[in-house]
Symmetry: C2
Subunit: 307 residues, 2 copies
């Protein structure tokens, strides 16, 4: 018997205050989230795979300048854009990840190609770019990634002399998790990293187990937050282990991972997760998290702040 699908996306977590958000800006973010959700839902409604759905949803978020991934990626210290992305298929328990990639329009599609075509899981830097080119993925130059807003953020960060999160305390990573009608799960995460980042810093987004994990037996997870804490906590796989080894429900495990484990380490952020029964969890311990979610037969919903 076919199951019902479910899909959740995020556009980053952090200090997102209702009091500081202009009404038109808030509405624009809501519409962008709904558009990305729809891009994934169309695939699931047509009987497509969770893997295709999360890739499509994240591509939509990458193409939107509001979020720190793809087109909206922040500037590095050197004034370039270095992006990280990963995707995991819960059916095959297999993954693809790309780190420190420049000039690729949709890093999540590069991660997908690594999953599908490469014998490797993770490719990095100029080598990953070369693989993207051989695979015919769309490239994009500095003009595509440039925005006055991000450039100002870089100047401010440089003036303070340190790497910083997108928009002070906002972690602009994007991600998607889905369960399709066959009960297969998938997760995807994509980011531009930290404004003014140096030394080739990599966060949790391209790391399988930390920022992204999917396994049909348990759940699909995409994280957003201060990457270093999610790396130390191996957060995405921790959630899966809490379900598999301790028997927690998705809701319990997601709550525990964010509100107990991450808070104990000092980590700030959130995650989105689905299980094979279509349950959705969207916990965060920051002020807000851009998010949208839908279950088959139900209305799509959008959230930004704590409800």
């Amino acid at each position: 018997m076919p199951k019902t699908y479910s899909l959740a996306i995020h556009g980053g977590a952090g200090t997102i205050m209702r009091s500081e958000m202009a009404a038109d800006k808030e509405e624009a973010h809501r519409q962008a989230l709904l558009k990305a959700l729809k891009a994934g839902e169309i695939i699931l409604r047509a009987g497509g795979s969770a893997l295709d759905a999360v890739e499509a949803a994240v591509c939509s978020l990458e193409d939107c300048e509001y979020f720190n991934a793809g087109k909206g990626a922040v500037f590095t210290h050197d004034g370039t854009h270095e992006m990280d992305a990963s995707i995991m298929c819960g059916r095959r328990v297999d993954a693809g990840a790309a780190a420190m990639v420049k000039g690729v329009k949709n890093p999540i599609s590069l991660a997908r190609r690594i999953l599908d075509v490469s014998e490797h899981v993770m490719l990095c830097g100029p080598g990953a770019r070369m693989f993207a080119r051989e695979q015919g993925l769309e490239e994009a130059g500095p003009d595509y990634f440039y925005s006055e807003y991000r450039f100002q953020q870089l100047q401010e960060a440089r003036a303070r002399g340190r790497a910083q999160l997108d928009h002070s305390q906002k972690y602009g990573t994007v991600g998607a998790v889905a369960c399709d009608r066959q009960g297969h799960l998938a997760a995807a995460t994509s980011t531009g990293g930290l404004t003014n980042k140096k030394y080739g810093r990599i966060g949790d987004s391209p790391i399988i187990g930390a920022g992204t994990y999917a396994n049909d037996l348990t759940c699909a997870v995409s994280c957003t937050g201060y990457g270093e804490y999610f790396l130390r906590g191996v957060v995405a796989y921790d959630l899966s282990c809490l379900m598999e080894y301790r028997g927690m429900s998705l809701e319990e495990a997601a709550h525990h991972a964010i509100h107990h484990r991450q808070l104990a380490l000092g980590g700030d952020g959130g995650l989105i997760a689905v299980d094979a029964n279509g349950n959705i969890a969207l916990p965060f311990n920051s002020e807000g998290m851009y998010r949208a979610w839908v279950k088959e037969g139900e209305e799509a919903r959008v959230g930004i702040y704590k409800e």
Copy 2:
């Protein structure tokens, strides 16, 4: 009451056959393993930290041309050496990792410096090299890493037109895990990756949770094997979760991670692990694994094949 220390190291796993190993070569490997073990044990015996001990042991293995890490690192497709390393402190549950690093004599000391000094967990490529230089870490040129033996391996791999494991089916990663007299744990892993590797491929060695993990509450783990399977299995953290969430002993969890989880995925390799009670586990599902281990008050032991 102070605990007794324990230390284990590995020099890679794979198809290491007694029938194909010359007696003098075998003895040279045994001596190199004992030397590295001693480099770590001296620190533990003097009351030093597990973190210092695993760094010292891995430095010794990196300085030995027999193993695929540091001086003995294999050649990439482009005829260079790109090395990955990671280290984790079980007391702080904090880590440092360096990926795709060229020209640094001891990548594990770079990982240690990232742990101690950087606000980040993972640095990669030229940026990581720049950080190493700013920190005054010893550099080494192509001559230092060159060996006729490794160069021949590259020619053979190029002729076959694919990336391959060190010495056909030998995974020459090195690693160390330790428990010190204060009951603190640490783990370290270092590798030269795959001979003839392209596209900036990164395996499990620099990935916290996959190749390396340490937490005083559970265990310290360093993995060796076909990296892609260890990435997909998030093996090092899986072992920790089997202990924390399922209540397995170190021995049970290590056995389960290698002989059930990894075999189910198709992954070949092994790991070394210690817990805070000084227990040591050294499971592998390949033909052999270069390994040595010692507990306070006991004789040091060395193994290569299945016993």
